[in-house]
């Protein structure tokens, strides 16, 4: 029995014919074969590259988002700067007006303070007149800065003490100090001379 390989000739004919389908099939066979052969390597390379690409894409998107945010903020800052710049002349006017207002207020305050202080001595004299007890009298009164020195006479020590208490209770005086007291002979008889020092307050 003779066996004939029909496919052998058919294959030769196809190769000689130069038909494009034959070429494609060749190409497919070649590339397919190569891919098939390297399939394992490609898979491995894909496993290597994919995580890198994914992370790169993610970080790129985050970074570009942040950069665009920054750009927006910078633009907004420029707009605000422009608006502030436009208000500068008015701000300068306000500064000038504030300066003028402060100057006027200070001057007015200084004159008001002067006016207030003119009543100081009247208040001191009036207060002393109302605070001194009946059986005591002032012989010398010195007022220097905020310190008052009083010298006087009284019938007895208790009256001096009462005078001092009155002074202490007054809103205008503080730190009432008994400097000294001594017995003296006056035309009225034997009396106590005294000396008191105190500070002026709230006047």
């Amino acid at each position: 029995m003779i066996k004939v390989n029909l496919l052998k000739d058919a294959g030769k004919k196809q190769k000689k014919g130069g038909d494009s389908t034959i070429l494609d099939s060749d190409f497919r066979n070649t590339v397919g074969g190569a891919v098939g052969e390297n399939n394992a390597i490609i898979k491995r390379i894909a496993f290597l590259i994919i995580p890198i690409v994914v992370v790169f894409a993610y970080t790129w998107s985050v970074e570009s988002g942040l950069k665009s945010d920054m750009e927006k903020l910078n633009k907004r800052a420029i707009v605000l700067d422009g608006q502030l710049e436009a208000l500068k002349p008015e701000l300068n006017t306000i500064e000038q007006l504030k300066g003028e207002k402060n100057k006027l207020s200070t001057e007015l305050g200084a004159i008001k303070e002067l006016s207030k202080k003119r009543y100081t001595y009247v208040k001191i004299l009036d207060s002393l007149q109302s605070l001194i007890p009946e059986k005591a009298w002032v012989t010398k009164l010195t007022i220097k800065d905020q310190i008052i020195s009083i010298e006087g006479r009284a019938i007895e020590d208790a009256i001096i003490s009462s005078f001092m208490q009155n002074l202490e209770e007054s809103a205008y005086f503080s730190n009432v100090t008994w400097v000294n007291s001594a017995e003296v002979n006056e035309p009225q008889g034997l009396v106590k001379s005294f000396s008191i020092r105190l500070n002026l307050e709230n006047i």
Partner: protein, 187 residues
């Protein structure tokens, strides 16, 4: 080599890929952190600018009000300066003092001008005085003096008994009376 690669487990490649990706991610984290810090700074600057702008806008709307306030203050000041006129002299102080001394019934026993100090907005016109009278007369004199339009301050006062006549104590009051003169040139 090819065979070696083919025989290596896929997990190794995956791990290497993840490691590279992780390295890349860590690198990007520091960049992102820097960017976020810059954004935070920009945000705070922007906030400050916004506040500044709002303030500026509010302030600019206050200009007419401020001008009105300044006009009122100027009026008040010009009224106040009548209390220490720029034209005041020592003579004016002497005149007011003698007038009030006469009204209160006290005697001016001595008077002389002394050197005054120059302040920011006014000059002092000081006079050294000595008066004689009763306590109530002297108090009345000080009261009348404080009621005058012209501001006169009493300083460094010294009251002492001069004499006692018929049970009436006559006091001597010595000290400084200071008038003031507004410095108009300053304005």
């Amino acid at each position: 080599m090819k065979e070696k690669l083919e025989n290596m487990p896929i997990l190794v490649f995956l791990l290497i890929g993840v490691a590279f990706a992780g390295y890349n991610y860590m690198g990007s984290l520091s960049i992102n952190e820097t960017l976020q810090n810059q954004i935070a700074q920009l945000n705070s600057q922007l906030q400050e600018k916004k506040v500044g702008l709002t303030k500026a806008q509010n302030s600019s709307s206050e200009i007419p009000m401020m001008k009105e306030e300044i006009t009122k203050l100027s009026q008040s000041l010009s009224k106040a300066t009548e209390l220490i006129p720029a034209s005041s002299t020592t003579r004016d102080v002497v005149m007011v003092v003698s007038e009030e001394a006469k009204n209160a019934g006290i005697r001016v026993t001595q008077a002389r001008p002394t050197d005054g100090q120059t302040k920011n907005y006014f000059d002092e016109l000081p006079m050294e005085y000595e008066f004689e009278g009763s306590f109530s007369q002297l108090t009345l004199f000080m009261y009348q003096l404080s009621k005058r339009q012209l501001i006169i301050h009493a300083t460094d006062m010294n009251l002492s008994t001069k004499e006692i006549v018929d049970g009436q104590t006559n006091l001597k009051m010595a000290g400084k009376l200071v008038g003031f003169k507004y410095k108009e040139a300053k304005r």
